[in-house]
């Protein structure tokens, strides 16, 4: 079955089974490898993408439910100034170890900062709790979010 999707500002078409999770459409049909498979059950957040600006777990989201929703993946997050600032903070604070979860972390952080420009530690705990970093780079993820909040232009 054919689905029309808007991904990173582009119209894309995927011919897949309706129950195929968005993650596998992105990775294996559209060759966007940024969203990662970690658990397949919505626990880890490695597969995070934005659906109309909200972070969602693409591994649990059937492609048939997306409709006209606009999808942003880690490949497209740099299209906004905020997304670029988060990417830059991740590099400046040298956040990553293995890096496998970090695309999802950056998407979760960008959504947090878009909604809450100056997040508290409690805001960060709440917004980032769904994204596991197995290398446990949490000290630096937190610092990078604060860094973006402190340095971004109002």
């Amino acid at each position: 079955m054919s689905f029309q999707l808007t991904i990173n500002g582009q119209k894309r078409t995927a011919d897949v089974d309706p129950d195929t999770p968005l993650l596998w459409v992105l990775r294996d049909e559209l060759d966007l490898k940024g969203p990662k498979f970690g658990c397949g059950a919505g626990y880890c957040g490695a597969c995070t993408v934005h659906l109309d600006g909200q972070p969602v777990r693409s591994c649990r989201l059937p492609v048939s439910t997306i409709g006209a929703g606009k999808i942003t993946t880690i490949e497209g997050i740099g299209a906004t100034a905020l997304g670029r600032a988060v990417q830059a903070a991740w590099l400046e604070l040298d956040v990553m170890q293995c890096g496998y979860c970090q695309g999802g972390q950056i998407l979760a952080a960008t959504a947090l900062l878009a909604a809450t420009p100056k997040p508290t530690d409690a805001d960060i705990d709440a917004a980032m709790a769904g994204n596991i970093c197995r290398c446990a780079t949490y000290n630096r993820i937190r610092a990078a979010i604060h860094h973006v909040a402190a340095t971004r232009k109002a």
Binding site: A41, G99, I132, R134, T137, Y138, N139, R142
Partner: protein, 731 residues
């Protein structure tokens, strides 16, 4: 002290009698190639070496360095080339790094395990870089008609100060490649005070790609015409396939092939299973939901966690069957002791759970088996695949991808053997991707263990006797992989009367090295019991440890396990100062705990501050870490990150992780039942390194072991409740 099991395929013993040599040849298209190998192999015509480096300098000054060991998030793809670049005096902005091919003849041992990369390669990478710099200086000196000794370098250039002339490395590369190799034994090295790159923070070489989501992990591999596979193994380890509804599988949408794979009996190799190969991974995995397999579960079906605990209890009351250490007379000393303390400790099996599930893309083409794999041991993987398929090792090509975490799981290459076997049967390239459930049910687990401890204190509160009856797993006299312990773990050798013995239970569950293998469990037992003894002796937990360590001195030999009491004292004192240990005024039900451990050549002491709520919830507030890994921190940014990660990893293990077995099967299968640490449970981790006059050693592991006991000791300080069994859970 604990090191990686010597039986491990990764732990190739170093041969100090072999000398480095250097080979030089002109690179295709002009430029300089430098490779280091070992004379022993050179004599046979092959350039096999334990250590090697590879430098390419293009005419435009771009320097390409080969990074020989797998990147698993520890930063080695950046670190080893950084060491070469330092001595080469390269302009880091002009350095490019490539993941080296899996090639023992060219690069020697290639693995990431045991925190060995810096330990084994620091001096050699420096010499290779320094030799390259000497060649470039000689080439410039010849061109200028001056003595090489009158020339120096600045990043990317040779300089003749007297005349003010300079020549770039790119311009000199071709001439330099025609010169004879410098002697690595005498090649001058920089004074560490002149380091420009080493000791400064550097970001990871692939980090920019990571923040853009570029496809650099094994699971991102795409080959033209590729199929996707899932592989169902018996949930009981080593079980055999009797039959499966393959015809039903083949009729499902997208399924290209479904077949039974016959494996062997070795748990670390190819095991029996059913492969489903489809036109997408989602369809392959969906088909699996309808898969029905009749298994012959085999003998392990009778094993369970409950059964292990019952056997361990029975064995605890009998004498051990294997003695690891016997000093003095423990029974006599215990009989005379003013105070005797006895306790039983235990810890569970736990899993590695790297976030990137096991995967491998395999293709049989033109007589070769070509694999793309996230692996910590590509050379061992190559051997395993060759053995499994019955082909020559030379015909197996392993392309190492970035690994989405390792933690020791990818020291085993079972998934590579599976992908190769499936690709051979399926025809055409195949990407095998495990599910998280496959990963947690088919790990090489950190083995559980049971320790029965008894110690004696003198009237002055001095430790005079230590007995440990360890009930673990193994066969006959041999511990299961990474499930043993030596006879030299602290406080052994520092207490006059010491008996360390073991009893072994048979185990059908696969075990293996998990980050700081053995130490990650033993630290909990010994550093917690030491804390109990300090309290029993009426002494401060820090002072009691310092008293046992005594005067700064070297204990043991490389063969028996070296331990430097002075380095342990150094990190203990530093961490106590950082955390204001024993002096901080803390609220009710809040406490600090201290612990130290020596593993993987690194000395670490940690203080955990934790609070326990009225309903028993443990919150870790802060961790202070003091580490001693020698004279040089190569990359302080990555070093701090590794230490923070290792500490939080250790806390997560202690707080909630446990794999249990029923009927020979793991009960946990995803992160709902097997909790990894999340942001709200993380806490600030403050790290300081004590710089000492010892060779630099690795950082992937040694910061982990003190974290679990420091946390348990903090819980005791907060509540008076002693944790003797992990995981902690809710009190």
């Amino acid at each position: 002290m604990t090191i990686l099991d010597t039986k491990s395929p990764t732990d190739a013993p170093a041969d100090p009698t072999r000398r480095l040599f250097l080979t030089i040849s002109a690179a295709a298209g002009g430029g300089l190639l430098i490779g280091a190998g070992l004379t022993a192999q050179a004599a046979t015509g092959a350039a096999a070496s334990e250590l090697s480096a590879y430098i390419r300098i293009a005419p435009d000054g771009i320097i390409t360095l080969q990074s020989k060991n797998p990147e698993i998030g520890q930063g080695i793809k950046t670190t080893l080339p950084l060491i070469i670049a330092e001595e080469l005096d390269a302009d880091w902005s002009k350095v490019r790094i490539e993941q080296a091919a899996t090639d023992a003849t060219k690069f020697g041992a290639q693995f990431s395990g045991g925190s060995r990369s810096v330990d084994m390669n620091y001096d050699q990478m420096r010499k290779v870089g320094a030799a390259g710099r000497q060649l470039l200086i000689r080439a410039a000196a010849a061109q200028w008609g001056v003595e090489p000794s009158m020339c120096s370098t600045k990043p990317g250039f040779v300089v003749h100060a007297a005349s003010g002339r300079t020549l770039s490395y790119g311009v000199l590369a071709s001439a330099a490649s025609a010169l004879p190799a410098p002697d690595l034994a005498t090649v001058p090295l920089k004074s560490p005070k002149d380091f420009r790159l080493i000791g400064k923070p550097h970001g990871g070489i692939d980090s920019a790609k990571i923040v853009r989501g570029e496809p650099i992990f094994g699971i991102d591999t795409v080959l033209p015409g590729m199929s996707y596979a899932v592989f169902e193994k018996c949930p009981v380890y080593g079980g055999r396939v009797v039959s499966a509804n393959l015809d039903e599988m083949r009729a499902l949408k997208g399924v290209r092939k479904a077949f039974i794979v016959k494996g062997g009996t070795a748990l670390e190799g190819l095991l029996d299973g059913v492969a489903i190969v489809a036109d997408s991974w989602w369809r392959a995995n969906k088909a699996r939901e309808a898969l029905k397999v009749v298994w012959d579960e085999g003998a392990t079906a009778s094993q369970s966690s409950k059964g292990f605990a019952e056997q361990a209890k029975a064995l605890a009351s009998q004498p051990g069957t294997k003695t690891m250490r016997k000093d003095g007379d423990v029974d006599a000393a215990l009989a005379k002791a003013a105070k005797v303390v006895e306790a039983a400790y235990s810890y569970p099996f736990i899993a590695h759970a790297p976030l990137e599930p096991q995967n491998c893309t395999a293709e049989l083409k033109d007589g070769k088996v070509i694999l793309h794999a996230p692996t910590q041991t590509p050379q061992a993987g190559r051997k395993l695949v060759a053995r499994t398929l019955g082909v020559n090792e030379a015909d197996v090509i392993v392309n190492v991808t970035r690994c989405g975490g390792g933690f020791g799981r990818r020291l085993n290459n079972d998934y590579m053997a599976e992908a190769a076997a499936i690709a051979r049967e399926a025809g055409g390239p195949v990407k095998l991707v495990w599910t998280r459930e496959d990963d947690l049910r088919h790990d090489f687990y950190r083995a559980g263990g049971f320790h029965n401890l008894k110690a004696g204190l003198s009237a002055e509160g001095k430790l005079v006797a230590w007995r440990n009856h360890f009930v673990g797993f193994g066969s006959g006299d041999n511990f299961a992989p990474s499930a043993g312990m030596s006879g030299s773990e602290f406080p052994a050798r520092l207490v006059e009367n010491c008996l360390i013995e073991a009893s072994l239970m048979p185990l059908g569950v696969p075990t293996g090295a998990l980050r700081a293998p053995q130490s990650n469990a033993l630290s909990f037992v010994f550093q917690s019991f030491i804390d109990e003894l300090a309290h029993a002796a009426g002494k401060d937990p820090l002072a009691f440890r310092l008293e046992i360590l005594g005067e700064p001195r070297q204990v043991g030999t490389p063969a028996t396990g070296e331990f430097d009491t002075g380095r342990a004292i150094g990190v203990l004192k530093l961490v106590a100062e950082m955390s204001n240990f024993g002096r901080a005024k803390l609220p009710a039900r809040t406490g600090q705990g201290i612990a130290f451990y020596y593993s993987h050549k690194g000395y670490f002491a940690e203080v955990v501050q934790a609070a326990v709520s009225a309903d028993g919830e443990v919150t870790v507030q802060k961790v202070w870490v003091a580490g001693d890994v020698g004279s040089q921190i190569v990359n302080p940014s990555m070093a701090e990150n590794q230490v923070q990660g290792a500490v939080l990893d250790g806390l997560a293990e202690a707080l909630g992780q446990e794999i249990t077995f029923v009927g020979g099967k793991a009960e946990q299968s995803n992160f709902g039942e097997y909790p990894l640490l999340r942001m709200p449970q993380s806490c600030p981790v403050e790290v300081r390194f004590l710089i000492t006059d010892h060779p630099p050693t690795g950082l992937g592991e040694p910061a982990l072991p003190p974290a679990p006991p420091a946390l348990c000791n903090a819980i005791f300080a907060a509540t008076g409740k002693r944790i003797r069994s992990l995981p902690i859970g809710r009190l």
